[in-house]
């Protein structure tokens, strides 16, 4: 039985938000940090809260902490030592292995995200602009009273038009394939696999191999918690569109090339099920838009190239141990929309996403290190993920095709990592525990 009233809502649900804001905070001392946490805590919704109020609610708040943040709040060394090594080290220390080199290197990150002083994040999702403004003003007012809490940076979020469905600045529909957690009440769509044991995403529950083990201590701190890898990924929209125009003649061929990079048409329709032309109805039908596999339906990659983003991030029946590699994705787009006919304006735009999992090293880092950045994934020899892989202009992209494949050489980097961090997402009771750490128990 999932303790829905103790699990932060973000772990279990997506909310109908069109806008939002992330605040990145640093605590000057433990008392100041705990005072802030005490104040914000009551705004944080559990999954039970958010479900009960989904119809009328217009804002949703999540709080998470880095390992340095836990220390800054006064968590003792014995407890700090029980957290996993990769979380203790933080994303900056793991940069090379994650492929965050060259322009993606933490030296180039913005917003103080590479700083050891990054302690906490507040994630606000809001139904509309007015609600965001109201919440931001309220939080600013509260922060101004917390003299020992510093705002390192903020990031405003904004959905990309048209708002009919969620998509990124490149135009790709998002949120089509998500794992379902056993006991959440959700029913997986066809092709999404059986519900996974909660311990794959929520600490304190059995996972795919058995009962929970090696949890951070004390239990009150880790129970119903999880880990979140944050990635701020700039999308070079002008360059992406130029690339499509340079490598495909007609508009239809450009759409096909965009689809070949992703593994789905930009509408979301899966290439496996509709290899030659887009199919908007298929894209919008949850009973069909995820109902495919690769091993039987497209072993050679004639529909979905072996190295495409979707095939790397979720190889489905072509990888071993898939149930231990799944990820929950949350997040939003940021930056101004670049209209289809407009020239690149130099403004930063992209996606600011969270990957939620019970083990950063086994789930997030594996996906990043192996699936996204292993040049020899599926024996491809000289490729990385065309969307999120570390591209330095020396790699290629192969599109299987009869009689001979198409090979694009010198693939450019369509995205750049602008920041990232590892956060611990505590349960509601754990937030209270942390906020009252200094009190006599």
């Amino acid at each position: 039985m999932l303790e829905l009233d103790d699990i932060q809502y973000i772990l279990l649900m997506r909310v109908p938000a069109l806008t939002g804001r992330y605040e990145f905070l640093s605590f000057r001392n433990a008392t100041g940090g705990r005072a802030w946490l005490s104040g914000i805590r009551e705004k944080v919704q559990s999954a039970a809260d958010a479900r009960a109020s989904l119809e009328k609610e217009k804002r949703w708040v999540t709080v998470a902490l880095t390992w340095n943040g836990l220390r800054a709040l006064g968590v003792d060394e014995t407890s700090l030592a029980t957290f996993p090594e990769e979380f203790k080290q933080g994303m900056v220390a793991r940069a090379e292995m994650l492929g965050d080199t060259g322009p993606n290197h933490p030296d180039n990150w913005v917003g103080g995200l590479a700083s050891p002083g990054l302690h906490a994040i507040v994630i606000l999702f809001a139904g509309d602009e007015a609600e965001r403004e109201r919440c931001v003003m309220e939080h600013n007012k509260f922060i101004s009273q917390c003299k020992d809490v510093e705002v390192l940076s903020s990031l405003d979020l904004q959905a990309v038009p048209p708002f009919i469905y969620a998509h990124d600045h490149f135009g790709y529909r998002d949120r089509l394939s998500q794992p379902v957690i056993e006991g959440s009440g959700e029913v997986p769509t066809p092709g999404s696999g059986a519900p996974l044991k909660p311990g794959e995403f929520i600490l304190g529950y059995p996972d795919e191999t058995g009962p929970p083990v090696n949890l951070p201590q004390p239990e009150i701190l880790s129970r119903n918690g999880s880990y979140m890898a944050y990635r701020r990924l700039q999308e070079h929209v002008g360059m992406f569109r130029d690339f499509l125009r340079q490598n495909a003649q007609t508009v239809e061929e450009q759409e096909l090339l965009a689809a070949k990079l992703m593994g789905r048409w930009r509408s979301g329709a899966p290439l496996v099920l509709s290899p030659d032309k887009d199919d908007q109805q298929l894209a919008a039908d949850p009973q069909r838009n995820n109902a495919f596999n690769y091993k039987e339906m497209d072993p050679q990659g004639y529909a979905v190239p072996l190295g495409s983003h979707a095939r790397r991030m979720n190889p489905r029946d072509t990888a071993a141990n898939m149930n231990r590699r799944r990820l929950i994705r949350r997040g939003a787009t940021y930056g101004p929309y670049l209209p289809e006919d407009a020239a690149e304006d130099g403004a930063e735009r992209g996606i600011a996403a969270f990957v939620i999992c019970a083990s950063l090293i086994r789930q997030f880092e594996f996906a990043q290190n192996v699936w996204a950045n292993d040049r020899n994934f599926h024996e491809l020899g000289n490729e990385r993920d065309p969307i999120i892989g570390n591209q330095d202009g020396t790699l290629e992209y192969k599109i299987p095709k009869r009689p001979i494949r198409k090979k694009i050489t010198g693939l450019p980097a369509f995205t750049t990592v602008r920041g990232g961090a590892y956060f611990f997402l505590p349960g509601i009771k754990a937030l209270h525990y942390l906020a009252t750490l200094g009190d006599v128990r």
Partner: protein, 193 residues
């Protein structure tokens, strides 16, 4: 004739190649970091490991029993080790001053760091267990504690100081593809008679 790709570099499989490896097993100026630590380099003999450890006294018979189990498991399901991207494995027992030691050598196509949790899961799931359970110092909770398993393996890995490949850098999949092509051509020629 020379079109084997490997890690982005064109490697000439027709030209046998040897690689001298510095002390410690890695090239300090170009060591690649994996999730669990530095990755031992790919050589003309592909990736590999040589794990050496002392066995728990009196457990020798279990190694022979394990060998029979692995033989049976692979015969029953020939692709049961496919996930490990192997070329060859060798298991050896030997004596030093009356103590029995175990050596486990593998040659494979992906660095051990990448799919190491899959290996742990495989040993747990197929009933193969692991013969490592009979080694001194092996973590008892290995099935639920992949990092401890990996730490043991890393601590007992003896890196090569020299490796040689007669057909360097060629992957097992490429060899299998080449043999399939050869068979297909033979079949085609038969059909042409």
């Amino acid at each position: 004739m020379s079109s084997t790709t490997s890690g982005g570099n064109q490697q000439d499989w027709t030209k046998p190649s040897a690689m001298a490896i510095p002390k410690g097993g890695v090239f300090k100026d170009k060591v690649e970091q994996g999730r669990y630590g530095p990755i031992f380099p790919k050589t003309p003999a592909c990736y590999g490991f040589s794990i050496l450890a002392k066995i728990i006294p009196g457990s020798e018979e279990r190694f022979y029993e394990y060998a029979r189990n692995v033989e049976k498991a692979v015969a029953g399901q020939p692709d049961c080790l496919a996930v490990l991207k192997l070329h060859y494995l060798r298991w050896v027992l030997f004596q030093i001053k009356g103590d029995t030691y175990f050596m486990y050598q593998g040659i494979f196509d992906t660095d051990f760091d990448k799919y190491t949790e899959d290996a742990v899961a495989l040993f747990g799931a197929t009933g193969l267990k692991t013969v490592f359970e009979n080694l001194e110092g092996f973590p008892k909770d290995w099935q639920t504690n992949a990092p401890a398993f990996i730490k043991f393996v890393r601590e007992h890995q003896c890196p090569s100081f020299l490796e040689y490949g007669e057909y360097p850098y060629v992957s097992a999949d490429e060899i299998k593809k080449a043999l399939k092509l050869k068979a297909a051509f033979s079949n085609m020629l038969d059909q042409m008679q």
